[in-house]
């Protein structure tokens, strides 16, 4: 076992704090709301989401943005609980992709 990739308190090499802020995109607001809605409905707990992020691939953890990590963990937990399957999500995404298309 080793220290988890999320367990970073006190690790050396931390750089300056970037104090810039960004307005949330629609997809980030949606990720936040879906996460909260699933919690409010008792479908999943915050502890499960944290554990999903801890279990994800370490390079993914460092490279993804904050809400991308949330979305990855929402998917992991929904699939684990057999509420959705990865295939279904892939198929739905392909549908949306063709709808959105290149202008």
């Amino acid at each position: 076992m080793a220290r988890g990739h999320h367990d970073i308190g006190g690790l050396p090499g931390g750089g300056p704090i970037d104090q810039s802020r960004h307005e949330l995109s629609d997809w980030e607001i949606l990720a936040d709301a879906v996460n909260q809605a699933l919690g409010a409905r008792g479908v999943k707990r915050t502890d499960e989401m944290r554990r999903a992020r801890e279990e994800m691939d370490s390079s993914g953890y460092r490279d993804m943005t904050y809400y991308e990590r949330w979305i990855a963990s929402i998917e992991t937990i929904l699939v684990e609980k057999k509420i959705l399957t990865k295939d279904e999500i892939d198929r739905k995404l392909a549908e949306l992709d063709s709808k959105w298309g290149e202008p």
Binding site: M1, G4, G9, R45, D47, R50, R51, E54
Partner: protein, 97 residues
Amino acid sequence: MNEATGSFKPGDRVKVKFEDRPGHIRTPWYIRGKIGRIERVYGDFLNPEMLAFGRDGLPKKTLYLVAFNHSDVFGKSAGTSDKVLVDIYDHWLEPTA
């Protein structure tokens, strides 16, 4: 706050267990094996280590606010009385002299 079934009281000197086990652990690596003092007893809470895997989180565990001298945790410290305070569950603590 909640009822507290754990045995530690404010002022008790405690050592954070140095365990390295899998699962969803909320005791940060940097504080494991360190010695501090119980500052507050927050009461009993469902165990997040179990909740993270869809289990009911029982039996509840007592949660404490534990204060550590900053220099004991991280070595040198600019302010000699600086502290690090961490919320730690009963089963991660052991009494120490």
